[in-house]
Each structure stands twice: as C-alpha cells, then as structure tokens.
C-alpha cells in the first residue's frame, strides 16, 4: 500500500488523473444529490397521492360496512320497539338482521333482568354466524351475566348509540368447548316511553373479517392498513399478535418512543395527516384519517423502502454507472496525460544529467508547438546559456583571483613602506598602526630622528584603493626626501604640496599633519595641512585636541604658503595623531565614533605607553563598529617625549 501511494506521489500523470476524477466525481455527486432530492420529493408526493387515494377508498369501504351495520341497527330498533310485547319474535329479528346485513357476525337483543316478568332473569336473544349458517341462542346465565359486559353497559351508561372497544366473545358449543371470536359491536340503547333503559341491541363485526376485508388493497408490496379504536387498540392489523391484543401505545410502555406516541395522540385526537417514523425497526410513512362517527382512525403504513424502492434502484444504478465511468475516466486520463507528459519525463532525465555536470548532454528535439514543446526548446536554450555563463564565470573567477593576488602583493609592499620598527622607550616612546579599509589604502604615517629632532607625519590621501595607495607612496617618498635636509615643517609641507600638485590630473589631494620636536627642549613645530588636529593628554588626565591653524590639503594649490605653529614644550605629554578613519568610524547604524568618544577613551586610563594607548583606542573603535565593514583606512600614531 505504501509502495502504491509512493508511486502515486511520484507520478504527475496519476496525480492529475486523480484530481480530474475527483473533480468530476464532486460534480457528479452534487448532481446526484440534487437530482435525488428532487426525485425523492416527487416520489414522496406521488406516494402521498397514491396512499391517500387507497386510504380514501378503504375508508369509503369501511364506512359502507359501518353504515350498513348502523342502518341494520336502526331497522332492528324499529322492529323491536314495534313488537316489544312479543319476545318470541326477538330471536327471528336477530337471525334476520344477521342474515340481511353483509359482514355482520352476530346480533343481540338483550334486556334488563326480569324485563319479561313472566319469563326469565336473563332475556338476551342472539343470532350469530357459524361458518355459513346462522345460529340463534338465548344468552345469559350465571356463568354469562351479559349485563356486566361493555356492549350492554356502554349504551346504557351513555344513553346513545356507540361502538365498543374490541372484546372477545365466548360461545359455548354443543361439545361444551368454549369458542371465541374477536368482535367490535355497534350498540343502541332501548328505552321505554318514559326514557328508562330497558335493554340494548348490539350488532357485532368480526375483527378477523374486517382485517381480511380492508387488507386486500395495498398501495405498496409491504404496506398495510391499520384501524385503531378510540382506546388505541388495533381493530385491523396484519400481525395477529397485535390485532386486538395490542394498542398503538403498547411499544411505548417499556421504551420511550416519542414518534409513535405522537402518531397515537394524533390518530386518537381524530386528526388527519402523514408522519414518518420507525415502526418495528423500519422507517415508514403512515397516512391516516379519522372516522368521525366511530372515534376510530384508519391508517396506511408504507415502509419507506417500498415507497422509494424504484427510486433507490435507479439511484444505485446511476451510482454504479457513475463509478464505472469514473474508473474509465481515470484510466483514459492517466494514459493521455502520461503520453502528453512523456517529453517532460525525458526532459527531467536529461536535466538530471546536466545537473550532474554533463553539460554536453544532447536534449531531444520536440517539434510540438504546445507548452511542452516550448518548454523543451526553452530548456535547450537555457542549457546553452548555462554553458556560456559557466565559461564566463570561470574566466572572471580566474581574473579576480589574479587581481586579488596582485593586490595582496601591493598591500605587502605598501605595508613595507610604513615603519614597523619603533624607537626604544628611552627618550621617545612611539608606536603607530595603519589598517587599510581595502587591500591597499591611502593613509600613511612616518617618523624620522635627525639632528636631535623627531620628524613625524600622519596623512590621508583622498579616495581609496590603488590610486590612493600610489599617491600615498609618492607623498611618503617626498616626506622622507624632504626630512633629510632638516627643513622647517612648513618647508616640508611646501615641497610635498609642489610635488603632489604637479601633473595632478586626477585632482587628488592629501591631508597631513607634519611635526618636528626638539628632543632636548621639547619644543614642537607643526604644520597642519587640512588634517584632523592631534589629541593630547593633559596633566590632569583629560584629553584635548591640539589647537591648530588649518591649512589647505597638499596637492591642491601649487605655490601655496603653509603656516606653521609651535608649542614650547611637549615633553611628558602623550600626543595622538590619527586619520578620520578613527573619529568617523561608523557602526551598523551609521553612527560615527566621534571626537568626544576619542577624547574620552584617551583619558579613560593613565598613560602607560604609546602601544597601549593605540591598543586601547583600537579596541574602543572595534567595540563601536561591532563588526560593521570599515569604510575608511584607519591610521594612528602616538608618542611621548620623555624628559
């Protein structure tokens, strides 16, 4: 099963086929539901009409029977009243009434005890049907006191004609065996001229006969007629265990059955209607109508299975055809889609080969003009483009590697130009670093001790990268050459300016701080050529910037006269020179390190030596930028002239 599902998951044809079939199935199902709903409604309406017609006919049939009985009772009553003084005629009246009334099982003319004073205590004259013959019998005796029975007492108590509840009547035959018949009787009271009850007449109908007569018509194969009395007892029912022995409520005595109770209430309330409920475990429709004059109610029970049997057969047939159609549709869809997608399968295999690095794989040509054909051609084009791109990439990568290698060499050369060896900490404590932002940078620093003076400079070439590095190398060379003649710092500045201005088509420039300190007196002369002012640590431990008069940067204006400044004695004072890669170093939020921070860090601890000061500053900058890419070269030079 798992293998089958995996196969389905891997097969686009199967997936598409399933989706098509599912979608079609949904449409079919919706159509089936709707058509079933409509058809079922029509079938139901037809069933109602059909059952109502049968019910109406059955009621008419029953009413004819009952009217015949009631008419016979009226005639008998007339005869009895007319010949009340002739009891010997009563037996003949009973016999003739049974004989002349179809469906009648028996007839009794019964009188109160000793009504005929010259006769007997019991005066009941009865004729009854015994198979095909009519028997007569004088009823009553100590074992059969008829005046305690319902068919006698009801007309007496109600003083009006009425139908009794069903009862079982006993007849003793010649062999002394008791014979019984389940009956229901129509009774009329007999009154004397003063209105006093003197007896009753009762005409009996056999329930078995009634059941047989009314059950002959069935609207559906398993439908049946029921007739319930005023007390709910079944007067007509095909089940002999229910006929006479049960009421419509019997099943509800032990187990609640609200549907059945509601049907019983409705029928006994003499309502007309139709209800759907479970009867003997089968969902059925019951159509019922009252028989007003009797208090009875007649119903036709039609099992739902019967009513909808044709409809259900048709529905299952449609479902079967639909399912078969869906299976066929799946097979056809699967084959057509698989055939259509076959180039895609081939393409997938070839794409796999290309992905494995076999760029020379030859793709099959697809002449079709549909999407699959377009996809194949596009894929072939993509393969060609891919091969070209990869070749280009290879070439570019090789070039970049070579440039990177050359830049590394340039970096080594540039770093080699910057002094790496610093004086012992005898009279000069000095340390410097330069960190280019790219492979090579435009910052520079240098120092030189000549004739008891310390010459130093820190510069920053405009721009970055290779152009800046070349100008830096040039500036550094000019500085070193100029220092050899021990000129004033302004002269050094002038020489640098002139050298850098010449042939400066690129309009590049250099900011630079140039200084010279007499190691004996501590007097410092300096010239600031558009550079950041150095910072120094005062005796109170706080840092400040060296006040300096700015000049223009070097290389901008040939012939410019630079102004110099002097400080009397800088011995014992730590001085930090730097480029803007320090105070303008930015973090991810583009916040600069700042001058204030620079001074704060510088004065944050007592001065130990120049290397420690630069290390501390470097750590502070790194903490500030927090990994953000450096945007500028960073150069620092720190020194202190000792006494």
């Amino acid at each position: 099963m798992k293998h089958f599902l995996d196969s389905l998951r891997r097969s686009l044809s199967a997936k598409l086929s399933i989706w098509v079939v599912l979608f079609t199935a949904m449409i079919l199902l919706a159509s089936l539901f709707y058509s079933s709903y409509v058809a079922r409604r029509y079938v139901r309406v037809e069933a109602v009409q059909r059952a109502s017609q049968v019910l109406e006919n059955s009621v008419l049939k029953l009413m004819n029977i009952l009217e015949d009985v009631e008419l016979a009772a009226d005639n008998l009553e007339w005869l009895v009243y007319r010949n009340l003084e002739h009891p010997e005629l009563m037996m003949d009246y009973s016999r003739s009434t049974v004989q002349g009334t179809p469906g009648l099982n028996g007839c009794s003319i019964s009188f109160e005890p000793y009504y005929y004073k010259d006769r007997y205590y019991y005066s009941a004259y009865s004729g009854y049907l015994d198979e095909d013959t009519i028997q007569t019998v004088q009823e009553g005796g100590d074992d059969y006191q008829y005046f305690y029975l319902s068919w006698y007492q009801l007309p007496k108590l109600l003083n009006q004609p009425c139908w009794t509840e069903p009862y079982c009547d006993w007849e003793q035959d010649d062999s002394s065996d008791m014979q019984t018949e389940k009956l229901v009787s129509y009774c009329k009271p007999l009154n004397d001229p003063d209105g006093n009850f003197i007896g009753s007449i009762s005409l009996d109908i056999s329930l078995n006969w009634l059941s047989k007569t009314l059950s002959s018509v069935q609207p559906y194969p398993h439908s049946y007629v029921v007739l319930v009395s005023r007390g709910g007892t079944f007067l007509v029912h095909p089940d002999p265990d229910k006929l006479f022995y049960q009421t419509i409520y019997t099943g509800t005595l032990l187990d609640d059955d609200p549907e059945l109770e509601a049907l019983g209430d409705s029928m006994l309330d003499q309502e007309e209607g139709m209800r759907s409920l479970k009867i003997d475990g089968k969902r059925s429709y019951v159509f019922y109508t009252p028989l007003k004059s009797t208090g009875w109610s007649m119903g036709i029970v039609c099992p739902e299975r019967d009513i909808f049997s044709g409809f259900n057969r048709l529905r299952w047939l449609v479902i079967g055809i639909g399912l078969l159609g869906l299976v066929l549709m799946f097979i056809v869809c699967f084959r057509v889609i698989r055939q259509t997608l076959r180039p895609l399968s081939n393409l997938a295999v070839q794409a796999g080969n290309i992905a494995d690095g076999h760029f020379d794989t030859i793709l099959p040509e697809d002449p079709r003009q549909d999407e699959i054909g377009t996809l194949s051609r596009s894929f072939a084009h993509m393969q060609t483009s891919l091969v070209t791109y990869i070749d280009e990439l290879k070439r570019t990568t090789a070039q970049r590697e070579r440039i990177e290698s050359e830049l590394q060499v340039a970096r080594d050369i540039q770093m080699g130009m910057i002094p790496r060896v610093f004086p012992d900490k005898g009279d000069i404590d000095l340390f410097g670093v330069m960190v280019p932002a790219k492979e090579v940078g435009g910052d520079l620093y240098d120092f030189y001790v000549l004739d008891g003076k310390l010459y130093f400079c820190v510069g920053d070439v405009s721009g970055k990268g290779i152009p800046a590095s070349l100008l830096m190398a040039m500036a550094l060379t000019v500085f070193r050459v100029a220092v050899q003649q021990a000129p004033p710092v302004t002269e050094i500045a002038r020489q640098l300016n002139e050298a850098l201005s010449a042939e400066n088509d690129q309009l590049m420039f250099v900011t630079m701080f140039i200084g010279a300190i007499d190691l004996k007196t501590g007097r410092m002369a300096f010239c600031n050529c558009g550079h950041n002012p150095p910072a120094f640590l005062r005796k109170d431990g706080k840092a400040s910037f060296v006040p300096s008069e700015p000049n223009i940067p070097l290389g901008v204006t040939p012939g410019y006269v630079f102004k110099g400044q002097e400080v009397d004695d800088v011995r014992g004072i730590p001085i930090l020179l730097y480029t803007d890669g320090l105070n303008e170093a930015e973090n991810e939020a583009h916040e600069p390190f700042g001058n204030d921070r620079l001074l704060e860090v510088m004065g944050s601890a007592p001065y130990d030596d120049a290397e420690e000061m630069i290390g501390r500053m470097n750590d502070a900058v790194k903490a500030h930028v927090a990994g953000a890419e450096a945007s500028d070269d960073l150069t620092m030079l720190c020194f202190r002239i000792n006494h």
Partner: protein
Amino acid sequence: MKRILPLLLLLVLPLAAEAQEHFVFTPQSSAQAQFAGYYAALEKGFYAEEGLDVEIVHPFATQSAADHIREGKCNATTLPLTLALRTVAGGLPLVNILQTSMNSATVIISRWGDDPLTMHGAKVTSFRAGFGQSARSFVEMKGLDYEWIMTASAVNLFIAGAVDAMLGRSFDEYYRILETGIDIPEKAIYRFENGEFNIQQEGVYVTRAYYLTHRKQAEAFARASRKGWAWVADHQEEALDIVMRYTKELRVATNRILQQLMLKEVLRLQQDHDTGLREFRVRPDMVEKANRILLDSGSLTTPVTLEELLP
C-alpha cells in the same frame, strides 16, 4: 441413554399419574401474570412432585371465584382478604393455606384528572367478581357517594368516558389504561397501598370442610404454589413465556409487555413493606384493619378472627 429415557418415562408416568390426587384450582380471574406462580408450579412439575394432579380452571369474566368455591366447582381459589372475611362471615368457613400478596394493589383512577377522593356522586366501576370490597367499604367510610357500576369491562367503560372513575389494580387495569394513551396524572390516582387501609389481598383459600378432610392435599398445594412463586421470581422471562401460553390459549386481550409489567408489580406487592421479604403469611394487623373497615361500613356485623382463617 437418550433412547432409553423416553421408554422409561412411558413406563413411569402412567403409574405416577395414577397415584396423583385430582385438584381443581380456580384463580380469581382470567389468565394473566397475576397467577404466574401457579402456572409455573404446574408447568415445572411442582404439583406433581407433591402428588397432585392440578387442573387450573379460569372463571368467565362475569363469574365470581367465591361462587366457584361455594358451589364446590373447585378445591381452591384466590380471594382478597376482605372478600374472604365476608365469605366466612356469610357462612362459608374458609382456610387460608397461602397468602401471596402482602399489600393492597387497589387503585381508584379518575377519568378526568381529578382527585378520586373529591369526586362526590361520581360513577365509578367496580368489578363484579372480586377485589373491590375493601375499596367500596373505604369509600363509604369516607362518605363519598359514588354510584358503583358493577362491570366486567371497566377499562372499556373508562375509555369511552361512560364513567368518571374506575376501581382497578396497580398491576392490571392501571397499565391497561396507560396502554390506551390516556394521560393519567398521579393526583388522579388513589393508591390504597400508600393509605391507611393498605390491606393485603390475594391469598389461596380452601373450604374448611375440604381442609379438614384433605389437609395433606391442601398443604401440598400451598407448598408447591409457594415453590412456583419462588421459581417465577428467579425466572421472570421464562415465567412470562408460560403466562403467554395461557393467555393465548384463552384469547385474553393482553400482550407480553402488559404481562411483563404486571408480573413485576405483582412480585413487588408480594414483598412486605416492613421487612422487604416475600413472607407468604397473613398479617394479624391487616386482618384487624380489614375487619375494622368492613364493620365500619356495615359490610360485616361481627368480626372474623385470624384464627378463623388459619388452619
């Protein structure tokens, strides 16, 4: 062995039957679960074990069981205690050989939902054969001027609305009324069991004359009947099968569900309120109570003592 057994039975049964005493038992009314214990005793062979050849003869609906025993048509019958007292007072000494009921099953049910004890002048059915004596005496004591309609078809008259109330029994007519769908609120039912005159009803009686001459048979019938009731209490479904065979044979207008409810209620009424046990004895206090109600209503002129009823 299976083949031999029928042969043995054929040989033994005629001999056993020959030795058995014929005994006619007439229950108070037609076949129903009220008499399940006796049917069971017959069907399960408890009577035969006691050497009795019992024949159960049911009376017709309008016949009185008391008349049957009075006329010698049966050897034993079941009677309510109050009817037994009246019968003895009327000159037919009876002996209670087995008291089955320990409580009154009598109920008065109003047709129109009223409290039966407030229905002055109402037409109320009472059974021609039987058990209504204590109720009628009680009603007279209460000063309710019911018009009693003696009938054998109380339920039918009740359904038709021909009467205002009916006297019935909690195990029989009460359920038959419920089966017709008529809604009976509890306030429309007066249950004697819960009132001051809870007087035990069915007991098995023989005439004292018969008892004196056939004491052994009478006691044997009582023992077997009691055994039958014990069996019924333990095998109610099987007992119902037996009852339904009787009702079908006699075409009694009933069904298994009604009989099931009836049997359950009859077995409940056999339990004494105080002990919760089926004691099968006549309670002296109930004899005294029955005497009192009959004397007060004028149905008796002199009391019938417990000793007069017991062997």
